[in-house]
Symmetry: C2
Subunit: 218 residues, 2 copies
Amino acid sequence: MGLRELKKRQTRETISHQATRLFLERGFDHVTIAEVAVAAQVAKMTVTNYFPRKEDLALDMHDVFVRLPAQTVRERGPGESALAALHRAYLSAVADQDPVIGFSGPEFARMIVESPALTARLREFHDDREKALAAVLAEETDADPDDITPRVAAAQLAAVHRLLFEETLHRTVQGHDNDDISRTLTEHARTAFGSLEPSLADYAIREEHTSPPPGSPM
Amino acid sequence: MGLRELKKRQTRETISHQATRLFLERGFDHVTIAEVAVAAQVAKMTVTNYFPRKEDLALDMHDVFVRLPAQTVRERGPGESALAALHRAYLSAVADQDPVIGFSGPEFARMIVESPALTARLREFHDDREKALAAVLAEETDADPDDITPRVAAAQLAAVHRLLFEETLHRTVQGHDNDDISRTLTEHARTAFGSLEPSLADYAIREEHTSPPPGSPM
DNA sequence: ACTTATTTTTAGGACGAACCTAGATATACT
DNA sequence: AGTATATCTAGGTTCGTCCTAAAAATAAGT
């Protein structure tokens, strides 16, 4: 990697780090971009160049957040349904107390829920995630472009992820510790994913790799 | 009603009307609040007083939009499930080509889908609507405050409304006429609400008014 | 190594939404 | 009619976002 790219990474890192520090200290809405620029020792415009929206200074995780469920479905095992894959992956993330499902620490969680701007941006993340999931489901089930079935399924699955994410955030803000939250979430995941089983248990099941059947199920 | 209230209504009406006219002519993002103020012959601040957010100048329907599904469930018939009530009410709205489910005319639909700000605000409407629905479902099923079941059910039901709304908007923008869209939507509603039947057909059924049973179902 | 080309950063400013305040104006009350 | 109350207005501030031209840093070519 060239020197130019290296410096870009460093600059981005510094800006993001200083921004997060200030946001945690004083709250997202009480820190201006100009202050972030001063703290990171760059021009105001440089902050904007790296992070076109102020919200992205705090939520620098769009891509992995959006791609994860779609990827989980794409990589599900033979004989596994989309629902089962997502439930399995979610439980695994709970066990890891993965930040991507909401385990972000009390200060960070507080920063988010106290800022309408960040909450709104997060809603967009959830939306993008649902769209990515819908695209994969449509692909995996060979659905007609204007069949809404994959969109409905994606909406249901993404909604569960969203609700569990919000639950994690709020319990974190309320001061529960991660192990406590993990236990509760495991239960809630069972309830939420379980409630989709009657409608989705047979949806988007990856065919066993031994001899592909003539017609795909559903 | 006093003269003061009358004038307030007129002022609000004038502002909203002039704003909508300008937005349809030139697009939401290309009209400033100052221009709306000039067109409505009021001070800039008066526009802001009536419509704290610019988006609400175009989307002056928050309350009915948010309350409708919750109200439908609250007023469902004896023996009717929340799902059945919402499906029924939706089909009725399709037959009426009700603006509240997306029949807003090509210009208006185009204004919305072309503006990221309006799309984002609409997302918030959907979210508020889901929350209102969740509250009613929790109430109607006597759910524990931290049982997520009503939230999951509300998310699934609200998602169907949201998807069908988006579908209506996009088909309207694409130039399909309302009768054509009505037919398609009726079919899509069958698919979407139908896909929830396995999980929700027995959820939140209003008890028959003849002799209340000892324990409520679910 | 020096020059040229490309990319990135910078400074300075423009624009518009959101908010504030004090004073003017209009309506309601007695 | 006179006082109280609600509403509107004018003028301003702040901040996020975007624009531009010039300066600085790096890469590429000779």
